[in-house]
């Protein structure tokens, strides 16, 4: 379990990084926290000719609050997001989700940009980006572009990034007023990738749900939204029958895969159960109660 030989370039600016990537002709990998990349190198699942280290690029690790959005730099470590008062206030579901990402030692190194770029099918952050209608800022030698999270995740471990691209930041719209949230995950152990996880937000208006968002991970090649269930919830107050209906819709709508730890059937079962709990928690929180 030693990696094949590679060249190592430390980029001290974004310009240097994109230039190094452009110069490697698709044979480079970006290393930030390295928490997924290094094991893949050691297993020789990846044999890049060049590693471009972006850890020393200034100005890529930040959490910035604007009037309507929270912008998070790509090099922001998971632990910073987990403990940020700004995140706790405006995106509490994200802060909660971070406590489920691996273990503290990994969260001290792993970055949000790295997690979204890697796009593990059972990771929490891609699901949260999708839930919160985030958008990703991407830089390359040919300029900058912005991609909505809903368009970013293409397949397992596959995202809308070209060889020379670097994710530089993620922008999350703040949650509207009267919004409650829920986050539910089942993993084999504390800190493991999810067998299934569901995050939800419900925004209320006049005692009914004005906007419902439900996102899931671990139950398909990419994170996905439960559009049918969201539509069903909209305009109604939440009650036991509606929760049951959400559970059924979610189960009918997912196509998980089987692996060593859980069958497709169990994952489908979990997705429904966790969605029911997540919307119930979101409903309680939206009314100012504790979950």
């Amino acid at each position: 379990m030693k990696p094949a030989a590679f060249d190592y370039i430390v980029a001290d600016s974004l310009e240097a990084a994109v230039a190094a990537l452009a110069g490697a002709g698709g044979e480079a990998k970006i290393i930030a926290g390295g928490q997924s990349l290094v094991p893949m190198l050691n297993f020789r699942l990846l044999k890049p000719s060049v590693l471009v280290d972006i850890n020393r690029i200034p100005g890529l690790a930040f959490i910035k609050e604007s009037e309507k959005t929270i912008e998070v730099g790509a090099l922001t470590r998971h632990h910073q997001i987990e403990t940020s008062p700004v995140i706790a206030k405006h995106l509490p579901v994200l802060g909660c989700a971070m406590t489920h990402v691996a273990h503290l030692a990994i969260r001290n190194r792993g970055t949000i940009g790295g997690s979204l770029s890697h796009a593990d099918p059972a990771a929490e952050l891609p699901m949260l980006a999708l839930l919160l209608d985030a958008s990703l800022e991407i830089a390359s030698a040919s300029g900058r572009r912005t991609v909505a999270a809903r368009d970013f995740f293409l397949a397992a471990l596959t995202v809308d990034l070209n060889d020379g691209d670097i994710v530089t930041g993620i922008t999350f719209p703040k949650l509207p007023a009267k919004t409650g949230w829920g986050f539910e995950e089942v993993a084999r152990r504390s800190g493991d990738f999810a067998l299934a996880a569901v995050a939800a937000t419900l925004t209320l208006s006049g005692g009914a749900i004005a906007q419902a968002r439900i996102a899931m991970t671990g139950v398909g090649p990419t994170p996905r939204r439960a559009g049918d269930a969201e539509a069903l919830l909209t305009g109604k107050p939440l009650g036991p029958d509606l929760i049951e209906a959400v559970i059924k819709l979610v189960r009918a709508g997912v196509e998980p895969e089987s692996d060593l730890h859980a069958s497709a059937d169990y994952r489908r079962h979990l997705a429904g159960a966790l969605a029911g709990r997540a919307v119930a928690a979101a409903w309680r929180r939206a009314q100012g109660k504790t979950a």
């Binding site: 030693k2 297993f43 273990h103 152990r189 504390s190 800190g191 493991d192 060593l260």
Partner: protein
Amino acid sequence: MTEPAEIHTRPKIVGARIKRTEDPRLLTGLGGYVDDKQVPRLLHVAFRRSDHSHARIRAIDCAAARAAPGVVAVFTADDMQSLVKPLRATSRMAGYHATPILPLASGKVRYVGEPVVGVIAESRYLAEDALELIAIDFEPLPVVVDPEEAARPGAPLLHEEAGTNVLIAREFKRGDVDAAIEAAPVRVKGRFRMRRKTAVAIEPRAYLAEHEAGRDAITLHSATQIPGIVRDALAEALDMPGHRLRVVAPDVGGGFGGKGSLYPEEIFVCAAARALARPVKWTSDRMEDLAATSQAFDEIVDAELGLDKEGRALGLRADVIGDVGAYSIYPWTAGLEPVQVVSFLPGPYRIQHYRGRVRAVATSKAPTGPYRGVGRPISTFVMERLMDMAASRIGIDPREIRARNFVRPEEFPYKTGSGIVWDRSGFSECLTAACDKLGYDDLRAKQAKARAAGRWFGIGIASYAELTGIGSRISVAPGMPINTGTETATIRIDSTGAVTASFGIASHGQGLETTLAQVVAEHLGARIEDIRIVQGDSSAVAGSTGTYASRSAVLAGGAATLAAQAVSEKVLVVASHLLEAAAGDLIAGNGRISVAGTDRSVAFREVARAVYSEMGRLPPELRDELAATKTYDPVFGTTTSATHIATLEIDPQTYEVRIGRFVVAEDCGRLINPLIVDGQVHGGVAQGIGAALYEEVVYDDQGQIHTASLVDYVVPSAAEIPPMDVVHLETESPTTLGGFRGMGEGGTIGAPAAVANAIADALSPLGIEINELPITPERLFRLIGAAQAKV
């Protein structure tokens, strides 16, 4: 209660909660492990391992690898043939077939991960680069993955010369079990399965061989539990006398049995270092550890228990198939675990009629070997499930059925149907103490309320007995090439008054440097800080094995007692001369010898100086070296017993299991250090919870291993392990010297059964039995789904 008078005259060191003296070193990064060792001109090994489960090796092309940058040598089995003689784990057991142990696969491969080619290079990186250049022409042979199919006549053979895959078949019986069970008014039975597990020590195996060309001598630094066994085996394999072979186990980061056998890689580095006259190191990575370190706990047990209407056991019969993997491991043989399952199946209970049959079947998977608990986690799982099933059938409490069946205090020594003899141990007392600690009756009342509210809350009891500190009259495999029944200690006071106590055991996390120092200090009257424990070194004593089978506290503790007493006598003779007092009036303690009732005393240091350094201070006849070597043999061994109780709750929607409380009441005789005993119990229970809920080595039907990383081989973390209550009982002093009983494995023996029973109890409204471990969320999902579909 300790008598205060005794404390004043002689502070008790044995029994004190002393912090581990090795911990400051280990916890501050100052420990020295094999892989830490810096050696000039060191070479590194990477192994090309089989990616076939069972295949013939037609040809190996190493030309490109030999020419690769940094590569010094490439060895195949053919290259090793002139360097190493094959070893076999021999035994006199009837119908036993030994299999050869070689450094590299020869002719065939028999499991995925078996080493085939060893590449030696200037760095591990370069060695791994060269692995990719080796071409092996394999001819696939039929895989042998299902042990039941493998046991049938006509099955493809792993070892043609054996003529069968059944490496051992044995039967233990007493009475007429078939008649007893046919006549029993209550009968419960099941087919029980425990899935394959592996030890996962935090330090993987590592071996560094140094060759001293001038006298053709080898020092092997090995992350092993058994330096003495490895030294003796190497003497045979390399045809060298013992004084040119030294095996040193420095700080070792856990073993749990996984480092308790001789390994091919260990032989390889020695042979290669000798051939190349350069030091050679191999450090297992985690993938190799999961594929090629010995595995365990892979048994199928068909068992039936017959009882009378009051729940008293009348007869027990069982057929066991052990899936032992590709080779009969050295020196324990393939019988190690499966035979122990039938030996210990009757447990702590009076059962007149018994029959246990066992077959150890070779399959094309990694070899199995010792793992903490060896056989008894499975036998306890089966017996304790049967007890709960019977209690439920009869309508009595699980606590009550055990109380009715335990061997009673007046019946000791009790011989079980398999021939194991239990000396007096607190079977009933442990059950009572565990229930009291838990508040058992209150919890049952709470459970009734929880159940009424639709919650799945369960309480599970497991009681067991084990034989520990085993002496020379009991052998794991009769006729095996080693003696596990004795232990030798050499204690020496040097000219500075410092005490060095040397042993054949090999601590790999047990805290033996502390506990043995306590025993020596107690009997010598020395201070703990003046004692150095030398262990993990085959050159420490003339003949040794190592640390395994809950033996070291009993055997090394006994040898330490004898040797310390002998040295103490010598010290007192000298002190008597120096203090001009009768030896009978002297008291040794805290590093000094004093005349009772006076303020006259002399330090160990002065005694030593008088003996070694001061000319003319002593008459010539008193100038005897302050040293003694003593060997201890407990002959049979002694019984350790415990009851574990787990409480847990299952989430009715997600089927996650949350353990609430875990209580252990155990009788391990006299405690040397309660702090260390607690730690051993905690660690053992954690591994038992792993066996119950998480850990499983998964091979597919092509013999490919799917649990090749710790993402997929699921070891519980601290977050999954509940706080525990441990109650220590000492019902009667056993016949062992010092009154110690072994206890290092017990946690792993009781916990799987306790958790399984708690889950079955939680799900009893659905009528679900738990017959397979680990009981993962996926397995619960299927069981609950099937049960709910029936309703």
